[in-house]
Symmetry: C2
Subunit: 472 residues, 2 copies
């Protein structure tokens, strides 16, 4: 079945029809070109039958309508920086990349709003807005590459989500191309059921976004950024609970365990913190007085929990340097082992110390190298299991370990994905979290948006094994 469809997609007449819609340069069919659209930041990959690069809503609509008529799956794609396989196309599918749709469509400072095309890079938007003394809070660590279309599809988060919330809290409007090519719109203010929130985080399975309205905020005038040293992960997480239980919420509160910290320091060529078991990376932003009061309070609480040293950024350059440490974690870890399974589990903050103990115990039990960092202020940890896909025996242990981690997380009242999404990599675990009743409603929602099931099939809701043509 997959092969028949792949043949259909590669059919000459079909390709010519696409070329008439998006121009000859908008259809890529060579093996080398298609390979570039076969993966994301996971270890999953699969080469699509064709790649299309539309420039307008009308082009996206025409491509979707044609593919639907021909029964060919369409898999939308941003920059491919995701951690769940959500944009990995099936071999029978068209990969639809929004990279050529990268304009700002409108900007209304009086309403604190802008509308962008999906291919705009998050970091480019941030720089533009900073010039206007505004900002867009969601800041995934891949912000120099990832696009807003991908951010919306994945419901992306980032360090600042602790204070400001995630993508979901900032999308005010979406123009959507339905799987059959119909174009429709929905707004934050739209009544009836909240379709906008369903689309945010839908991982490209319900519609293709061609215009995205965003809420903006005034750029804070002051900041204080520092690292606090702790003896280990458990103490660091106790410090987080202490802040949270007193209602003290900084803008950013990130953790790195000892091995992650050393790995990043090594990657950046910085001297290492040998005696440090874990660090918390803190940023407080706001008005001058507010920043001073809040950061002094945080330091005081940390000192009670035995943090013995603080490194404060004293100027913009030192602040950037601390941020670079945090943002370099992913590339740094890539050097430790060929394969990194990044499991972004999330628990209520009060359960963090328990989760930390579990992670350590699981690492020992399964003999797996684990690097832990992430948005601890939200209870959202990135537990990275390091391995090499070629080492089958180790991979089996890693998968058992991940499996157990998910079950413990759910027992602690948590979720299997704090921010990265379900995609292909966690689809088999989702029923554990939602139960049969929740999965039934989920499947009904998918049918409501995509009756033929041709838009990004197999993501979130796993395909049955017999027709799982997207997993290799």
């Amino acid at each position: 079945m997959g092969e028949v469809k792949a043949a259909a997609a590669k059919n000459h007449a079909f390709r010519r029809a696409l070329e008439r819609m998006v121009g000859p340069s908008g259809v890529l069919s060579s093996p080398e070109d298609r390979l570039c659209y076969s993966f994301d930041a996971t270890t999953i990959s699969s080469v699509p039958a064709l790649v299309v690069l539309p420039k307008t809503t009308e082009q996206v609509s025409a491509v979707a309508a044609l593919a639907q008529r021909e029964g060919i799956p369409v898999v939308p794609r941003g920059a491919g920086t995701g951690f769940a396989g959500s944009c990995v196309p099936g071999e029978d599918a068209i990969a639809l990349s929004t990279e050529r749709m990268n304009r700002m469509l409108s900007f209304s400072p009086a309403d604190l709003r802008c509308v962008v095309e999906p291919g705009v890079v998050n970091g480019d938007l941030q720089r533009y807005l900073a010039g206007e003394r505004l900002f867009y809070p969601p800041d995934p660590s891949s912000l120099e590459a990832c696009t807003l279309g991908g951010n919306v599809a994945q419901g992306a988060s980032g360090p600042r989500a602790l204070k400001y919330g995630s993508t979901k809290d900032y999308v005010t409007y979406l123009k959507v191309v339905a799987p059959d090519g119909e174009v429709w719109e929905t707004r934050q203010e739209s009544r009836g059921y909240d379709l906008l929130s369903v689309l945010v985080g839908s991982e490209g399975t319900l519609g293709v976004f061609t215009a995205i309205g965003l809420r903006l905020l005034p750029l804070p005038t002051h900041w204080r950024t520092f690292l606090a040293h702790f003896g280990g992960l458990e103490e660091a997480s106790e410090a987080v609970v202490a802040l949270s239980s007193r209602g003290v919420i900084p803008t950013v509160l990130e953790v790195m365990d000892k091995v992650t910290l050393r790995c990043v320091e090594d990657y950046l060529g910085r001297p290492s913190h040998d005696a440090v078991g874990a660090v918390l990376f803190v940023e407080v932003t706001g008005g001058e007085e507010e920043v001073k009061v809040l950061s002094d309070r945080i330091v005081g609480i940390f000192e009670e929990i035995k943090s013995w040293q603080f490194e404060f950024a004293t100027n913009e350059e030192e602040r950037e340097s601390l941020w670079l440490l945090r943002r370099s974690v992913s590339p740094a870890l890539a050097r430790v082992a060929p394969t990194k399974i990044n499991e972004d589990v999330c628990v209520p903050r009060s359960r963090l110390p328990e989760l930390m103990r579990t992670v350590e115990a699981l690492a020992q039990k399964h003999r797996v190298r684990i690097y832990t960092f992430g948005h601890i202020g939200d209870g959202n940890l990135h537990v990275n299991l390091m391995t090499d896909v070629r080492d089958r025996e180790e991979v089996a242990r890693v998968e058992e370990c991940a499996d157990e981690l998910f079950r413990v997380t759910l027992d602690l009242g948590g979720t299997i994905s704090g921010e990265h999404g379900i995609g292909l990599s966690k689809a088999k675990y989702l029923p554990l979290e939602l139960g049969p009743a929740g999965m039934k409603v989920l499947a009904g929602v998918k049918r409501a948006f995509d009756p033929k099931g041709l838009l990004n099939p197999g993501k979130i809701i796993a395909s049955r094994p017999q027709d799982n043509s997207t997993r290799r």
Copy 2:
């Protein structure tokens, strides 16, 4: 058809089966009792066949399962303070009131979370939390009566939504009884599609909530509360645009026009502000310095826009007195005319002056008495068309006026309901806002949750005229 079903619901064996589930005192069948559950705060009403008052999730589940087997509609109900007819039951339906489910199930200050049953009254929760130096931001003006179940069903908002957002931003967990009685759960952190956000604001059409998890915030330590006088609505709305375009966001920013202000002053027996054309009611909350800086800035901007006088609350009693003025608007207006059509239109803030001019023009054109107040800081106005349902000629003019108001609002990029919901009263207008593609998805979502269409039928998605048994 409606009569056949009503007969089924009133059937003796059916009532006995319900009584076995919820106890004899949990089923009300006398005409007087049923009348009490026939209306909300609109002019729409319809007496249900039976009323049930369950105390537990298991009882709600049993009632739903039985009603589904018998093909009898179930209409969930909080305190009946809504403005859209969302909880008005059909004559063939069971009204399911959550009033006996009013316990707090858990309270975790360290996680800034609590879980409550749906019948807990918003104001009771606020008082409890204030004792713990915490608060729950959504504060509908009916907070002394309305329940959290109703708040979640309607996605309720309130004056503080400007700074803090609405109910949607604070619900973290829902235990849901499906229309067939199946019990399931969903959380803010749950992945897959965001079913929680679909349920919030679903007006009792997708499931009955039996436990509600809420996010809480630390109570701000300082406040500054004042009224600012303006020449008229247009100037007041220009002042709002001026704040918004400079990124100055107070906690509360409410407007009252001249007639509303006089009406409330009269109701409360206070001296009237004769020379004032409109007032803005402002509250700033936060840390001491933050409150001082922000409120001084607001006063400065207002003075530029020709506000000539300010009334500051200097102690907690005066602050309460200003809040009482705002919260008394609805009861005060009830004295002006027997029937008040409260249309909560909402536009982007920059379009407010235009909306204000339109409202005045429409009042003259249709010879309708209009009282305007509401959450102007959000662009959300309550435009009250005063009439008497017995005066058919005037009601016809009022409906034409409302119709035109909705169309203008949509032309200005707004929405027909800022916060009150669609229910019965706006169901016929929703297709204007969502278009055919949006309505198709909406109907699909309803089917995904409620395949037989027996939970609160005819709300949000209008019944076709021939089987509209809920509208009289």
